[in-house]
Symmetry: C2
DNA sequence: TAGATTGTTAATCGATTAACAATC
DNA sequence: TAGATTGTTAATCGATTAACAATC
């Protein structure tokens, strides 16, 4: 029996968790190409990590392989999907339908990642009422009543950083317990059981700035 | 003298590098609020990490503080900006002006992060010639001549994953040595001196899926 | 069975934290 | 000077890698 699979006392490290979606992705690609079987060594070569790490990572959740054979590709992908909870379908709302919010609402396959995207909200009359990817953009003023009625689990925040903290507090009151935060602000709420994934695209770009400049300085 | 400041033999770990933009951001906020002086302990409380780590991180690049005093906020921010190379202004192009590309071209302050955004490219007649944030979208067919003329350093890839690998190879031939990659594909090019920052928003969202589901399972 | 490859324990490596002497 | 806080070394912790017995 996989130890800690029930998700109760299990404490799988964040480093491991963050690799799971990548495994899922690679296994999906392999499955699509008709690959049904893979060893940790083969997968490690494709993904640029060690076979040891793959086996360690997977064994945090259970023994999905078979000695002498390797791993069944579609079965393993499916297991990882279940571990991540892609089958449960959390309810999500997105707030802030500017360029980024629109891009995410349009681009991102929420379904495939364990969500039903229920609604989009904005506060600008220019945007409210317009259609974005099957959804009519709602007025932020109905947020309270909407949340009480539909009980979303997760909010995607595509709003300016000034508005982020107050809105997050409001949303927590309304029962939201997960944030995918694109506002240029570190949400780190001191509320028990609230989960935040901060996406800082600016920080990512600045990391690249450093790395490229370092390369350039090397050759001069 | 800061050791390894010349960027030659210095090998500052990626974990440290990735924290630098966040320091830069927090220091900027503090400076904006008129704060001129801060100790590692105060900063650690604001940022949610240890004072030790802050001092260790900064001392990878030099001794920017003063015993008994702490750090000068604007001066330190400035130093970190220089470390990251925000003052050098790399030339960048963006390829793929779909929703995401448009959001990034419009949203992201490239100037503030060490870039001149030179041009946007797309292959769709619907988009070519339209204006996006001061730039006319160019036809991808002129990419070669454009690159030979303007010698961009970095390409922002907002294209479907199918196109990513081939385009990246082409861009390397054209002298690009850094990629900010949003295509749903792990660019890991075996070329010497090519730097890639992969942004996988889907992976980020799936990590949140796991974390929220884990919280939900806890309380049942 | 023999060969292959896992699951798992042990060893190594790196990153974080603690401690404290140096010094402003 | 005394107090505060850095820079830096040492200790701890966690994550990755290596090794190998279990087993398909």
């Amino acid at each position: 029996m996989p130890k800690g699979y029930d998700g109760k006392e299990s404490t799988v490290s964040l480093s491991v968790i963050r690799r799971m979606p990548r495994y899922y992705r690679f296994l999906g690609e392999l499955a699509k190409m008709g690959c049904t079987r893979i060893s940790s060594r083969e997968l490690s070569e494709k993904m640029g990590l060690t076979a040891s790490q793959i086996r360690q990572d997977l064994n945090c959740f259970g023994g999905f392989g078979q000695q002498g054979y390797g791993y069944n590709v579609p079965a393993l992908q499916d297991e990882i999907g279940k571990i991540l909870g892609l089958d449960q379908k959390l309810n999500a709302i997105l707030i802030g339908v500017g360029n980024l919010g629109r891009a995410i609402a349009t681009h991102m396959d929420f379904e495939a990642r364990g969500y039903n995207l229920l609604a989009l909200f904005d506060n600008s009359p220019d945007v409210i009422g317009t259609m974005v990817n099957q959804h009519t953009v709602e007025d932020i003023s109905i947020l309270d009543s909407f949340c009480r009625k539909h009980k979303p689990d997760v909010a995607v925040l595509c709003i300016p950083k000034e508005a982020a903290k107050a809105l997050a507090e409001q949303l927590i009151e309304l029962g939201i317990h997960g944030f995918w935060n694109f506002s240029h602000y570190d949400l780190s709420l001191n509320h028990e059981g609230i989960v935040v994934e901060n996406v800082h695209l600016g920080d990512s770009l600045m990391t690249l700035t450093y790395m490229v400049n370092k390369e350039l300085n090397k050759n001069k």
